[in-house]
Protein backbone atom coordinates (compact mmCIF):
# COMPACT_ATOMS: atom_id res chain seq x y z
CA UNK A 1 0.00 0.00 0.00
CA UNK A 2 1.53 3.35 -1.01
CA UNK A 3 2.01 5.80 1.86
CA UNK A 4 2.44 9.56 1.96
CA UNK A 5 2.72 12.33 4.49
CA UNK A 6 -0.28 14.55 5.25
CA UNK A 7 -1.01 17.26 7.80
CA UNK A 8 -3.85 17.19 10.32
CA UNK A 9 -5.67 19.75 8.18
CA UNK A 10 -5.20 17.60 5.08
CA UNK A 11 -6.52 14.62 7.02
CA UNK A 12 -9.80 16.36 7.78
CA UNK A 13 -9.95 17.78 4.27
CA UNK A 14 -9.51 14.37 2.66
CA UNK A 15 -12.13 12.84 4.94
CA UNK A 16 -14.58 15.59 3.98
CA UNK A 17 -13.82 15.13 0.27
CA UNK A 18 -14.41 11.41 0.68
CA UNK A 19 -17.87 11.77 2.25
CA UNK A 20 -18.90 14.52 -0.15
CA UNK A 21 -17.84 12.34 -3.07
CA UNK A 22 -19.41 9.10 -1.86
CA UNK A 23 -22.56 10.42 -0.12
CA UNK A 24 -24.64 12.76 -2.29
CA UNK A 25 -26.88 13.51 0.71
CA UNK A 26 -24.04 15.42 2.39
CA UNK A 27 -23.98 19.22 2.23
CA UNK A 28 -21.36 21.52 3.73
CA UNK A 29 -22.01 25.08 4.80
CA UNK A 30 -20.88 27.82 7.12
CA UNK A 31 -19.26 31.24 7.06
CA UNK A 32 -16.78 31.82 4.20
CA UNK A 33 -16.50 28.12 3.33
CA UNK A 34 -17.44 28.25 -0.37
CA UNK A 35 -15.45 30.48 -2.76
CA UNK A 36 -13.09 31.63 0.00
CA UNK A 37 -12.43 28.07 1.16
CA UNK A 38 -12.84 28.73 4.89
CA UNK A 39 -10.90 30.80 7.40
CA UNK A 40 -8.29 28.02 7.60
CA UNK A 41 -8.52 27.03 3.90
CA UNK A 42 -9.98 23.66 4.85
CA UNK A 43 -12.50 23.65 2.00
CA UNK A 44 -10.56 25.32 -0.81
CA UNK A 45 -11.83 23.97 -4.12
CA UNK A 46 -14.89 22.26 -2.61
CA UNK A 47 -17.26 24.71 -4.29
CA UNK A 48 -15.92 23.83 -7.75
CA UNK A 49 -15.73 20.13 -6.99
CA UNK A 50 -19.17 19.65 -5.43
CA UNK A 51 -21.27 22.59 -6.63
CA UNK A 52 -23.03 25.55 -5.09
CA UNK A 53 -26.05 23.58 -3.91
CA UNK A 54 -23.84 21.36 -1.73
CA UNK A 55 -21.16 23.81 -0.55
CA UNK A 56 -22.40 27.26 0.38
CA UNK A 57 -21.85 30.32 2.55
CA UNK A 58 -24.39 31.47 5.11
CA UNK A 59 -25.10 34.69 6.96
CA UNK A 60 -23.26 35.14 10.28
CA UNK A 61 -26.02 33.42 12.20
CA UNK A 62 -24.83 30.34 14.09
CA UNK A 63 -28.25 29.54 15.50
CA UNK A 64 -29.91 29.71 12.07
CA UNK A 65 -27.08 27.62 10.59
CA UNK A 66 -27.45 24.89 13.19
CA UNK A 67 -31.23 25.11 13.29
CA UNK A 68 -31.42 24.82 9.50
CA UNK A 69 -28.96 21.92 9.61
CA UNK A 70 -31.19 20.13 12.13
CA UNK A 71 -34.15 20.67 9.79
CA UNK A 72 -32.14 19.31 6.86
CA UNK A 73 -30.96 16.31 8.89
CA UNK A 74 -34.60 15.36 9.55
CA UNK A 75 -35.32 15.43 5.81
CA UNK A 76 -32.75 13.04 4.41
CA UNK A 77 -29.61 15.17 4.22
CA UNK A 78 -26.39 14.77 6.21
CA UNK A 79 -25.34 18.37 6.84
CA UNK A 80 -21.79 19.29 7.81
CA UNK A 81 -21.68 22.73 9.40
CA UNK A 82 -18.43 24.59 9.89
CA UNK A 83 -18.37 26.93 12.85
CA UNK A 84 -15.56 29.31 11.98
CA UNK A 85 -14.33 28.99 15.57
CA UNK A 86 -15.66 26.65 18.27
CA UNK A 87 -16.01 29.77 20.44
CA UNK A 88 -18.99 30.83 18.30
CA UNK A 89 -20.95 27.70 19.23
CA UNK A 90 -22.10 29.57 22.31
CA UNK A 91 -24.45 31.71 20.21
CA UNK A 92 -26.22 28.51 19.13
CA UNK A 93 -25.97 26.23 22.15
CA UNK A 94 -29.73 25.96 22.53
CA UNK A 95 -30.03 24.48 19.03
CA UNK A 96 -27.51 21.79 19.98
CA UNK A 97 -28.74 21.11 23.49
CA UNK A 98 -32.48 21.46 23.04
CA UNK A 99 -33.22 20.63 19.42
CA UNK A 100 -30.41 18.38 18.16
CA UNK A 101 -29.78 16.59 21.44
CA UNK A 102 -33.40 15.83 22.32
CA UNK A 103 -35.13 15.15 19.03
CA UNK A 104 -34.38 11.44 18.78
CA UNK A 105 -35.22 10.86 22.45
CA UNK A 106 -38.50 12.73 22.12
CA UNK A 107 -39.64 11.54 18.73
CA UNK A 108 -37.40 8.74 17.44
CA UNK A 109 -36.29 10.89 14.49
CA UNK A 110 -32.48 10.73 13.99
CA UNK A 111 -30.43 13.91 13.49
CA UNK A 112 -27.36 12.98 11.40
CA UNK A 113 -25.58 16.31 11.80
CA UNK A 114 -21.87 17.07 12.03
CA UNK A 115 -20.66 20.36 13.50
CA UNK A 116 -16.99 21.07 12.78
CA UNK A 117 -15.50 23.38 15.36
CA UNK A 118 -11.88 24.59 15.19
CA UNK A 119 -10.70 25.12 18.77
CA UNK A 120 -7.73 25.50 21.06
CA UNK A 121 -4.99 28.05 21.61
CA UNK A 122 -1.27 28.44 21.35
CA UNK A 123 -1.19 30.92 18.50
CA UNK A 124 -2.26 34.25 20.03
CA UNK A 125 -5.96 33.92 19.31
CA UNK A 126 -6.99 35.57 22.56
CA UNK A 127 -10.14 34.96 24.60
CA UNK A 128 -12.61 34.44 21.76
CA UNK A 129 -10.64 32.44 19.18
CA UNK A 130 -8.97 29.89 21.46
CA UNK A 131 -11.66 28.40 23.65
CA UNK A 132 -11.93 24.70 24.43
CA UNK A 133 -15.62 24.11 25.11
CA UNK A 134 -15.69 20.31 25.01
CA UNK A 135 -16.89 20.00 28.61
CA UNK A 136 -19.99 22.04 27.74
CA UNK A 137 -20.69 19.85 24.70
CA UNK A 138 -20.05 16.61 26.60
CA UNK A 139 -22.56 17.65 29.24
CA UNK A 140 -25.37 17.61 26.68
CA UNK A 141 -27.44 14.42 26.36
CA UNK A 142 -27.85 13.05 22.85
CA UNK A 143 -24.68 14.68 21.47
CA UNK A 144 -21.42 12.94 20.56
CA UNK A 145 -18.07 14.71 20.79
CA UNK A 146 -14.96 13.76 18.81
CA UNK A 147 -11.50 15.32 19.13
CA UNK A 148 -8.68 13.75 17.06
CA UNK A 149 -4.97 14.37 17.62
CA UNK A 150 -3.40 12.76 14.53
CA UNK A 151 -3.90 13.27 10.78
CA UNK A 152 -4.91 9.63 10.22
CA UNK A 153 -7.48 9.71 13.04
CA UNK A 154 -8.75 13.11 11.91
CA UNK A 155 -9.33 11.72 8.41
CA UNK A 156 -11.05 8.57 9.64
CA UNK A 157 -13.09 10.15 12.42
CA UNK A 158 -14.58 12.94 10.29
CA UNK A 159 -15.96 10.18 8.05
CA UNK A 160 -17.34 8.27 11.05
CA UNK A 161 -18.85 11.50 12.43
CA UNK A 162 -20.63 12.39 9.19
CA UNK A 163 -21.99 8.87 8.71
CA UNK A 164 -23.19 8.56 12.32
CA UNK A 165 -26.98 9.03 12.65
CA UNK A 166 -26.55 11.36 15.65
CA UNK A 167 -25.43 14.97 16.13
CA UNK A 168 -21.63 14.93 16.41
CA UNK A 169 -19.43 17.85 17.39
CA UNK A 170 -16.10 17.40 15.66
CA UNK A 171 -13.43 19.42 17.43
CA UNK A 172 -10.39 20.34 15.35
CA UNK A 173 -7.32 21.68 17.07
CA UNK A 174 -6.14 24.72 15.13
CA UNK A 175 -2.60 24.46 16.48
CA UNK A 176 -2.34 20.96 15.02
CA UNK A 177 -3.68 21.95 11.56
CA UNK A 178 -0.25 22.51 10.06
CA UNK A 179 2.06 21.45 12.90
CA UNK A 180 1.43 17.73 12.86
CA UNK A 181 2.25 15.42 9.96
CA UNK A 182 1.90 11.69 9.63
CA UNK A 183 2.49 9.00 7.04
CA UNK A 184 -0.86 7.56 6.04
CA UNK A 185 -2.12 4.89 3.70
CA UNK A 186 -4.16 5.92 0.68
CA UNK A 187 -7.29 4.17 1.92
CA UNK A 188 -9.12 5.65 4.86
CA UNK A 189 -9.09 3.17 7.73
CA UNK A 190 -12.38 2.97 9.59
CA UNK A 191 -12.17 4.28 13.18
CA UNK A 192 -15.39 3.97 15.18
CA UNK A 193 -16.54 6.75 17.51
CA UNK A 194 -16.01 6.08 21.19
CA UNK A 195 -12.63 4.32 20.98
CA UNK A 196 -9.47 5.60 22.67
CA UNK A 197 -6.00 4.57 21.51
CA UNK A 198 -2.73 3.99 23.33
CA UNK A 199 -0.29 6.06 21.29
CA UNK A 200 2.70 5.46 23.55
CA UNK A 201 2.95 2.29 25.62
CA UNK A 202 4.20 2.45 29.20
CA UNK A 203 3.98 0.68 32.54
CA UNK A 204 5.03 3.24 35.15
CA UNK A 205 2.40 5.94 34.74
CA UNK A 206 -0.39 7.00 32.35
CA UNK A 207 -1.32 10.31 30.77
CA UNK A 208 -4.97 10.40 29.72
CA UNK A 209 -5.38 13.24 27.25
CA UNK A 210 -6.68 14.36 23.83
CA UNK A 211 -6.15 16.96 21.13
CA UNK A 212 -2.94 18.98 20.97
CA UNK A 213 -1.97 17.81 24.46
CA UNK A 214 -1.45 14.27 23.12
CA UNK A 215 1.67 15.51 21.35
CA UNK A 216 2.82 17.49 24.38
CA UNK A 217 2.34 14.35 26.50
CA UNK A 218 4.33 12.17 24.09
CA UNK A 219 7.24 14.62 24.08
CA UNK A 220 7.15 14.86 27.87
CA UNK A 221 7.05 11.06 28.16
CA UNK A 222 10.16 10.82 25.96
CA UNK A 223 11.96 13.32 28.18
CA UNK A 224 10.95 11.38 31.30
CA UNK A 225 12.13 8.11 29.75
CA UNK A 226 15.45 9.73 28.84
CA UNK A 227 15.96 11.24 32.29
CA UNK A 228 14.66 8.45 34.54
CA UNK A 229 14.10 5.34 32.46
CA UNK A 230 10.41 5.32 33.47
CA UNK A 231 7.97 4.49 30.69
CA UNK A 232 4.81 6.57 30.60
CA UNK A 233 1.76 5.42 28.67
CA UNK A 234 -0.14 8.07 26.67
CA UNK A 235 -3.83 7.33 26.06
CA UNK A 236 -5.41 9.48 23.35
CA UNK A 237 -9.15 9.57 24.07
CA UNK A 238 -10.06 10.55 20.45
CA UNK A 239 -13.78 10.55 21.34
CA UNK A 240 -14.88 12.48 24.42
CA UNK A 241 -18.49 11.33 24.28
CA UNK A 242 -19.10 8.47 24.36
CA UNK A 243 -16.01 8.12 26.52
CA UNK A 244 -14.04 4.89 26.18
CA UNK A 245 -14.32 4.00 29.86
CA UNK A 246 -12.88 0.50 29.41
CA UNK A 247 -9.71 1.89 27.84
CA UNK A 248 -9.36 4.48 30.61
CA UNK A 249 -9.82 1.90 33.37
CA UNK A 250 -7.35 -0.45 31.69
CA UNK A 251 -4.82 2.38 31.32
CA UNK A 252 -5.15 3.18 35.04
CA UNK A 253 -3.51 -0.18 35.76
CA UNK A 254 -0.11 1.58 35.74
CA UNK A 255 -1.17 2.88 39.15
CA UNK A 256 -0.30 6.52 38.44
CA UNK A 257 -2.54 8.67 36.26
CA UNK A 258 -2.22 12.25 35.06
CA UNK A 259 -5.20 13.70 33.19
CA UNK A 260 -4.12 16.48 30.87
CA UNK A 261 -6.13 19.01 28.85
CA UNK A 262 -5.87 22.57 27.64
CA UNK A 263 -9.48 23.29 28.59
CA UNK A 264 -10.49 24.85 31.89
CA UNK A 265 -10.18 22.87 35.09
CA UNK A 266 -13.50 23.06 36.93
CA UNK A 267 -15.98 20.45 35.68
CA UNK A 268 -13.62 19.69 32.79
CA UNK A 269 -13.04 16.27 31.21
CA UNK A 270 -10.25 15.74 33.73
CA UNK A 271 -12.75 15.75 36.57
CA UNK A 272 -14.86 13.14 34.76
CA UNK A 273 -11.90 10.86 34.05
CA UNK A 274 -10.54 11.22 37.60
CA UNK A 275 -13.96 10.42 39.07
CA UNK A 276 -14.35 7.40 36.80
CA UNK A 277 -10.98 6.01 37.88
CA UNK A 278 -11.69 6.74 41.55
CA UNK A 279 -15.02 4.94 41.34
CA UNK A 280 -13.96 1.91 39.35
CA UNK A 281 -10.17 1.50 39.45
CA UNK A 282 -9.25 2.82 42.88
CA UNK A 283 -7.63 -0.49 43.78
CA UNK A 284 -5.10 -0.04 40.94
CA UNK A 285 -3.88 3.33 42.17
CA UNK A 286 -0.54 3.90 43.85
CA UNK A 287 -1.05 7.66 43.94
CA UNK A 288 -3.94 10.11 43.70
CA UNK A 289 -5.06 10.92 40.15
CA UNK A 290 -3.60 14.29 39.11
CA UNK A 291 -5.06 16.88 36.79
CA UNK A 292 -2.99 19.25 34.69
CA UNK A 293 -5.25 21.71 32.89
CA UNK A 294 -5.62 25.34 31.96
CA UNK A 295 -6.55 27.44 34.98
CA UNK A 296 -10.08 28.81 35.38
CA UNK A 297 -9.42 32.08 33.61
CA UNK A 298 -10.22 33.41 30.13
CA UNK A 299 -7.66 32.52 27.45
CA UNK A 300 -5.14 35.40 27.54
CA UNK A 301 -3.64 37.06 24.48
CA UNK A 302 -0.02 38.07 25.24
CA UNK A 303 2.41 35.23 24.46
CA UNK A 304 3.90 35.43 27.96
CA UNK A 305 0.46 35.07 29.51
CA UNK A 306 -0.74 32.34 27.16
CA UNK A 307 2.45 30.35 27.81
CA UNK A 308 1.67 30.52 31.52
CA UNK A 309 -1.97 29.55 30.83
CA UNK A 310 -1.52 26.56 28.55
CA UNK A 311 0.13 23.32 29.73
CA UNK A 312 3.37 22.72 27.80
CA UNK A 313 6.10 20.11 27.63
CA UNK A 314 8.12 21.36 30.65
CA UNK A 315 5.04 21.56 32.90
CA UNK A 316 3.83 18.10 31.81
CA UNK A 317 7.34 16.66 32.34
CA UNK A 318 7.49 18.22 35.79
CA UNK A 319 4.04 16.87 36.68
CA UNK A 320 5.04 13.38 35.52
CA UNK A 321 8.31 13.39 37.47
CA UNK A 322 6.42 14.48 40.54
CA UNK A 323 3.74 11.81 40.02
CA UNK A 324 6.39 9.09 39.56
CA UNK A 325 7.98 10.03 42.89
CA UNK A 326 4.69 9.94 44.78
Amino acid sequence: MPRREITYLQGIREGLQYVLRTHPETVLFGEDVAAFGGAFKMTTGFLDAFGADRVFDTPIAESAMLGAAIGMATQGLKPIVELQFADFATTALHQLLNNAGTLHYRTGVPVPLTVRAPCGGGFGGGPFHSEELEAIFCHMPGIKVVYPAFPSDARSLIVSAVLDPNPVIFLENKFLYRHVKEDVETDIAPVPLGCARICRPGTDATVVTYGAMVHTAIHAAETVAHETGAEVMVLDLRSLKPLDTQAILAAAATGRVLVLHEAWRTCGLGAEVAALIAEQAFHHLDAPVRRLTAPDCPVPFAPELEAAYRPDEPTVTEALLDLLET
Binding site: P59, G67, M72, T74, R106, N166
Partner: protein, 306 residues
Amino acid sequence: MISRAIEERLIRLYHQGKVYGGAYSGVGQEAPGAAACLAGEPHDLYAPLIRNMSVHVGRGAGPHHLFRQWLARASSPTRGRDGNIHHGDLSAGVYPMISHLGAMLPVVTGGVMARRRRGIPCIGFGFIGDGGSSTGDFHEAVNFAAVFDVPVVFIIEDNKFAYSTPTSRQFRCANLADRAPGYGIEGHRADGNDALALLDLLARLADDIRARPRPVLVAVDTMRMRGHGEHDDFAYAPRELLESYRARDPIAVCRDALLADGRLTDEQWHALEASIRTEVDQAAREVAAEPAPDPRTLLEGVYAPS
Protein backbone atom coordinates in the same frame (compact mmCIF):
# COMPACT_ATOMS: atom_id res chain seq x y z
CA MET B 1 -63.81 23.11 16.19
CA ILE B 2 -61.99 19.86 16.97
CA SER B 3 -59.06 21.83 18.29
CA ARG B 4 -61.39 23.90 20.52
CA ALA B 5 -63.23 20.83 21.78
CA ILE B 6 -59.99 19.02 22.63
CA GLU B 7 -58.56 22.03 24.42
CA GLU B 8 -61.73 22.71 26.37
CA ARG B 9 -61.74 19.10 27.45
CA LEU B 10 -58.05 19.38 28.44
CA ILE B 11 -58.80 22.47 30.48
CA ARG B 12 -61.53 20.54 32.32
CA LEU B 13 -59.17 17.61 32.89
CA TYR B 14 -56.55 20.05 34.23
CA HIS B 15 -58.96 21.55 36.71
CA GLN B 16 -59.94 18.02 37.78
CA GLY B 17 -56.23 17.41 38.49
CA LYS B 18 -55.94 14.79 35.76
CA VAL B 19 -53.31 16.54 33.61
CA TYR B 20 -49.71 16.14 34.76
CA GLY B 21 -47.83 19.47 34.52
CA GLY B 22 -49.43 22.58 33.05
CA ALA B 23 -52.22 23.10 30.57
CA TYR B 24 -51.65 25.57 27.74
CA SER B 25 -54.20 26.25 25.08
CA GLY B 26 -54.74 28.22 21.94
CA VAL B 27 -58.41 28.90 22.63
CA GLY B 28 -59.36 31.87 20.47
CA GLN B 29 -56.37 31.41 18.18
CA GLU B 30 -57.52 28.43 16.12
CA ALA B 31 -57.93 30.30 12.85
CA PRO B 32 -54.32 30.85 11.64
CA GLY B 33 -53.33 27.20 12.14
CA ALA B 34 -56.51 25.87 10.58
CA ALA B 35 -56.16 28.20 7.58
CA ALA B 36 -52.48 27.30 7.13
CA CYS B 37 -53.32 23.59 7.08
CA LEU B 38 -56.06 24.10 4.47
CA ALA B 39 -53.70 26.28 2.40
CA GLY B 40 -50.93 23.66 2.43
CA GLU B 41 -50.20 20.43 0.60
CA PRO B 42 -49.44 17.03 2.14
CA HIS B 43 -45.69 17.46 1.52
CA ASP B 44 -45.46 20.86 3.25
CA LEU B 45 -43.75 21.41 6.61
CA TYR B 46 -45.15 23.10 9.71
CA ALA B 47 -43.57 24.42 12.90
CA PRO B 48 -46.42 25.13 15.31
CA LEU B 49 -46.11 26.52 18.86
CA ILE B 50 -48.19 26.18 22.02
CA ARG B 51 -51.18 28.11 20.71
CA ASN B 52 -51.39 26.00 17.54
CA MET B 53 -53.33 22.88 18.47
CA SER B 54 -55.26 23.53 15.28
CA VAL B 55 -52.12 22.72 13.24
CA HIS B 56 -51.81 19.28 14.86
CA VAL B 57 -55.49 18.61 14.26
CA GLY B 58 -55.29 20.06 10.75
CA ARG B 59 -52.41 17.74 9.88
CA GLY B 60 -54.31 14.70 10.99
CA ALA B 61 -53.55 14.18 14.68
CA GLY B 62 -56.72 12.75 16.19
CA PRO B 63 -58.03 13.18 19.75
CA HIS B 64 -56.56 9.87 20.97
CA HIS B 65 -53.10 10.88 19.79
CA LEU B 66 -53.38 14.30 21.44
CA PHE B 67 -54.80 13.09 24.77
CA ARG B 68 -52.06 10.43 24.98
CA GLN B 69 -49.49 13.20 24.76
CA TRP B 70 -51.21 15.41 27.33
CA LEU B 71 -51.85 12.56 29.73
CA ALA B 72 -48.25 11.26 29.26
CA ARG B 73 -49.28 7.74 28.26
CA ALA B 74 -46.75 5.11 27.11
CA SER B 75 -48.25 5.25 23.63
CA SER B 76 -47.98 9.05 23.38
CA PRO B 77 -46.18 10.54 20.36
CA THR B 78 -43.18 11.23 22.62
CA ARG B 79 -43.64 8.02 24.66
CA GLY B 80 -43.97 10.20 27.76
CA ARG B 81 -40.63 11.86 27.12
CA ASP B 82 -42.14 15.29 26.62
CA GLY B 83 -45.44 16.81 27.64
CA ASN B 84 -48.50 18.76 26.54
CA ILE B 85 -48.12 20.57 23.22
CA HIS B 86 -44.43 19.61 22.77
CA HIS B 87 -44.90 17.02 20.09
CA GLY B 88 -45.11 16.64 16.37
CA ASP B 89 -45.27 14.11 13.63
CA LEU B 90 -42.71 14.48 10.89
CA SER B 91 -44.52 11.91 8.77
CA ALA B 92 -47.33 14.51 8.69
CA GLY B 93 -44.80 17.33 8.21
CA VAL B 94 -45.16 18.75 11.72
CA TYR B 95 -42.03 19.58 13.73
CA PRO B 96 -42.17 19.06 17.50
CA MET B 97 -41.62 22.41 19.17
CA ILE B 98 -39.15 23.14 21.93
CA SER B 99 -39.82 25.81 24.55
CA HIS B 100 -37.17 28.20 23.30
CA LEU B 101 -39.16 30.62 21.19
CA GLY B 102 -37.89 31.23 17.69
CA ALA B 103 -35.76 28.07 17.72
CA MET B 104 -38.07 26.13 15.41
CA LEU B 105 -38.05 28.77 12.66
CA PRO B 106 -34.56 27.95 11.32
CA VAL B 107 -35.39 24.25 11.67
CA VAL B 108 -38.47 24.42 9.44
CA THR B 109 -36.50 26.63 7.03
CA GLY B 110 -33.77 23.98 6.77
CA GLY B 111 -36.37 21.25 6.40
CA VAL B 112 -37.93 23.06 3.44
CA MET B 113 -34.48 23.60 1.87
CA ALA B 114 -33.75 19.87 2.14
CA ARG B 115 -37.10 18.75 0.74
CA ARG B 116 -36.84 21.12 -2.19
CA ARG B 117 -33.29 19.94 -2.87
CA ARG B 118 -34.80 16.45 -3.22
CA GLY B 119 -37.21 17.79 -5.82
CA ILE B 120 -40.28 18.01 -3.55
CA PRO B 121 -42.14 21.32 -4.16
CA CYS B 122 -42.41 21.89 -0.42
CA ILE B 123 -43.14 25.14 1.39
CA GLY B 124 -43.11 25.81 5.13
CA PHE B 125 -45.36 27.45 7.70
CA GLY B 126 -43.53 28.77 10.76
CA PHE B 127 -45.52 30.10 13.71
CA ILE B 128 -44.37 32.63 16.27
CA GLY B 129 -46.04 35.05 18.66
CA ASP B 130 -45.55 38.73 19.38
CA GLY B 131 -43.26 37.72 22.24
CA GLY B 132 -41.26 35.24 20.18
CA SER B 133 -40.75 37.88 17.50
CA SER B 134 -38.33 39.55 19.94
CA THR B 135 -35.90 36.62 19.86
CA GLY B 136 -32.65 36.51 17.95
CA ASP B 137 -33.71 33.25 16.34
CA PHE B 138 -36.73 34.91 14.75
CA HIS B 139 -34.45 37.45 13.11
CA GLU B 140 -31.82 34.87 12.14
CA ALA B 141 -34.38 32.55 10.60
CA VAL B 142 -36.30 35.15 8.59
CA ASN B 143 -33.07 36.68 7.32
CA PHE B 144 -31.64 33.22 6.53
CA ALA B 145 -34.77 32.25 4.60
CA ALA B 146 -34.72 35.59 2.77
CA VAL B 147 -31.06 35.22 1.73
CA PHE B 148 -31.69 31.72 0.33
CA ASP B 149 -35.19 32.45 -1.06
CA VAL B 150 -36.69 29.66 1.01
CA PRO B 151 -40.49 29.54 0.64
CA VAL B 152 -41.69 29.80 4.23
CA VAL B 153 -44.73 31.70 5.47
CA PHE B 154 -43.70 33.18 8.80
CA ILE B 155 -46.92 33.78 10.71
CA ILE B 156 -46.68 36.10 13.69
CA GLU B 157 -49.73 35.76 15.90
CA ASP B 158 -49.92 39.04 17.78
CA ASN B 159 -52.04 37.79 20.66
CA LYS B 160 -51.40 40.84 22.85
CA PHE B 161 -49.58 39.17 25.73
CA ALA B 162 -46.39 37.13 26.11
CA TYR B 163 -47.28 35.42 29.38
CA SER B 164 -48.07 38.68 31.25
CA THR B 165 -45.98 41.11 29.19
CA PRO B 166 -47.96 43.39 26.86
CA THR B 167 -46.84 44.12 23.29
CA SER B 168 -45.60 47.58 24.34
CA ARG B 169 -42.60 45.80 25.85
CA GLN B 170 -42.02 43.59 22.79
CA PHE B 171 -41.81 45.94 19.84
CA ARG B 172 -41.87 49.58 18.90
CA CYS B 173 -43.07 49.33 15.28
CA ALA B 174 -46.72 50.04 14.50
CA ASN B 175 -47.35 46.53 13.22
CA LEU B 176 -45.06 43.51 13.16
CA ALA B 177 -45.65 43.18 9.41
CA ASP B 178 -43.65 46.41 9.10
CA ARG B 179 -40.52 44.41 9.82
CA ALA B 180 -40.76 42.59 6.49
CA PRO B 181 -39.19 45.31 4.29
CA GLY B 182 -36.14 45.24 6.56
CA TYR B 183 -35.60 41.64 5.45
CA GLY B 184 -36.35 42.45 1.84
CA ILE B 185 -39.55 40.40 1.89
CA GLU B 186 -43.28 41.07 1.70
CA GLY B 187 -45.27 41.68 4.84
CA HIS B 188 -49.03 41.18 5.14
CA ARG B 189 -51.47 42.09 7.89
CA ALA B 190 -54.52 39.99 8.54
CA ASP B 191 -57.40 39.53 10.93
CA GLY B 192 -56.36 36.50 12.95
CA ASN B 193 -59.94 35.69 13.93
CA ASP B 194 -61.35 35.45 10.42
CA ALA B 195 -60.46 31.95 9.26
CA LEU B 196 -62.01 32.30 5.80
CA ALA B 197 -60.20 35.55 4.99
CA LEU B 198 -56.98 34.03 6.35
CA LEU B 199 -57.48 30.97 4.16
CA ASP B 200 -57.87 33.21 1.09
CA LEU B 201 -54.66 35.07 1.94
CA LEU B 202 -52.56 32.03 2.91
CA ALA B 203 -53.72 29.94 -0.05
CA ARG B 204 -52.79 32.77 -2.40
CA LEU B 205 -49.39 33.25 -0.72
CA ALA B 206 -48.74 29.49 -0.67
CA ASP B 207 -49.41 29.17 -4.41
CA ASP B 208 -47.29 32.21 -5.09
CA ILE B 209 -44.21 31.21 -3.09
CA ARG B 210 -44.42 27.63 -4.31
CA ALA B 211 -44.11 28.98 -7.86
CA ARG B 212 -41.65 31.77 -7.03
CA PRO B 213 -39.78 30.65 -3.91
CA ARG B 214 -39.27 33.27 -1.18
CA PRO B 215 -40.33 33.81 2.41
CA VAL B 216 -43.22 36.07 3.38
CA LEU B 217 -44.26 37.50 6.71
CA VAL B 218 -47.88 37.55 7.84
CA ALA B 219 -48.73 39.39 11.06
CA VAL B 220 -52.18 38.47 12.34
CA ASP B 221 -54.15 40.38 14.91
CA THR B 222 -55.69 38.10 17.51
CA MET B 223 -55.90 37.64 21.25
CA ARG B 224 -55.10 34.93 23.71
CA MET B 225 -58.40 34.25 25.50
CA ARG B 226 -57.03 32.54 28.60
CA GLY B 227 -53.98 32.89 30.83
CA HIS B 228 -50.58 31.73 29.62
CA GLY B 229 -51.57 28.40 31.13
CA GLU B 230 -54.48 27.34 33.28
CA HIS B 231 -52.48 28.19 36.41
CA ASP B 232 -52.58 31.85 35.33
CA ASP B 233 -55.80 33.79 36.13
CA PHE B 234 -55.12 36.35 33.36
CA ALA B 235 -56.02 39.20 35.74
CA TYR B 236 -53.65 41.52 33.87
CA ALA B 237 -55.74 41.46 30.67
CA PRO B 238 -58.03 44.51 30.35
CA ARG B 239 -61.65 43.33 30.45
CA GLU B 240 -62.82 45.52 27.53
CA LEU B 241 -60.04 44.19 25.32
CA LEU B 242 -60.96 40.61 26.18
CA GLU B 243 -64.64 41.27 25.53
CA SER B 244 -63.92 42.88 22.17
CA TYR B 245 -62.14 39.72 21.01
CA ARG B 246 -64.67 37.43 22.67
CA ALA B 247 -67.31 39.08 20.49
CA ARG B 248 -65.24 38.04 17.50
CA ASP B 249 -64.56 34.43 18.46
CA PRO B 250 -62.95 32.81 15.39
CA ILE B 251 -65.22 29.77 15.40
CA ALA B 252 -68.37 31.90 15.66
CA VAL B 253 -67.09 34.27 12.96
CA CYS B 254 -66.48 31.33 10.64
CA ARG B 255 -69.81 29.67 11.47
CA ASP B 256 -71.78 32.88 10.87
CA ALA B 257 -70.10 33.44 7.52
CA LEU B 258 -70.79 29.87 6.40
CA LEU B 259 -74.41 30.07 7.55
CA ALA B 260 -74.90 33.49 5.99
CA ASP B 261 -73.83 32.44 2.50
CA GLY B 262 -75.65 29.14 2.71
CA ARG B 263 -72.61 26.88 2.60
CA LEU B 264 -73.80 25.34 5.86
CA THR B 265 -77.15 24.91 7.60
CA ASP B 266 -77.87 25.26 11.32
CA GLU B 267 -78.66 21.56 11.51
CA GLN B 268 -75.36 20.60 9.88
CA TRP B 269 -73.45 22.84 12.29
CA HIS B 270 -75.13 21.39 15.37
CA ALA B 271 -74.67 17.84 14.13
CA LEU B 272 -70.97 18.51 13.50
CA GLU B 273 -70.56 20.05 16.94
CA ALA B 274 -72.29 17.13 18.64
CA SER B 275 -70.28 14.47 16.81
CA ILE B 276 -66.99 16.21 17.66
CA ARG B 277 -67.93 16.45 21.35
CA THR B 278 -68.83 12.76 21.43
CA GLU B 279 -65.61 11.71 19.73
CA VAL B 280 -63.45 13.91 21.96
CA ASP B 281 -65.13 12.81 25.19
CA GLN B 282 -64.82 9.17 24.25
CA ALA B 283 -61.13 9.56 23.36
CA ALA B 284 -60.40 11.32 26.68
CA ARG B 285 -62.06 8.49 28.62
CA GLU B 286 -60.29 5.74 26.70
CA VAL B 287 -56.86 7.32 26.85
CA ALA B 288 -57.09 7.92 30.61
CA ALA B 289 -57.27 4.15 31.05
CA GLU B 290 -54.15 3.46 28.96
CA PRO B 291 -50.86 2.53 30.65
CA ALA B 292 -48.18 5.01 31.73
CA PRO B 293 -44.61 4.66 30.39
CA ASP B 294 -42.42 1.99 31.96
CA PRO B 295 -39.57 3.60 33.98
CA ARG B 296 -37.29 0.90 32.60
CA THR B 297 -37.49 2.64 29.20
CA LEU B 298 -35.93 5.82 30.67
CA LEU B 299 -32.65 5.59 28.75
CA GLU B 300 -34.06 4.27 25.48
CA GLY B 301 -33.53 6.45 22.44
CA VAL B 302 -31.04 9.02 23.76
CA TYR B 303 -29.01 8.13 20.67
CA ALA B 304 -30.08 6.72 17.33
CA PRO B 305 -28.48 3.28 16.84
CA SER B 306 -25.28 3.67 14.81
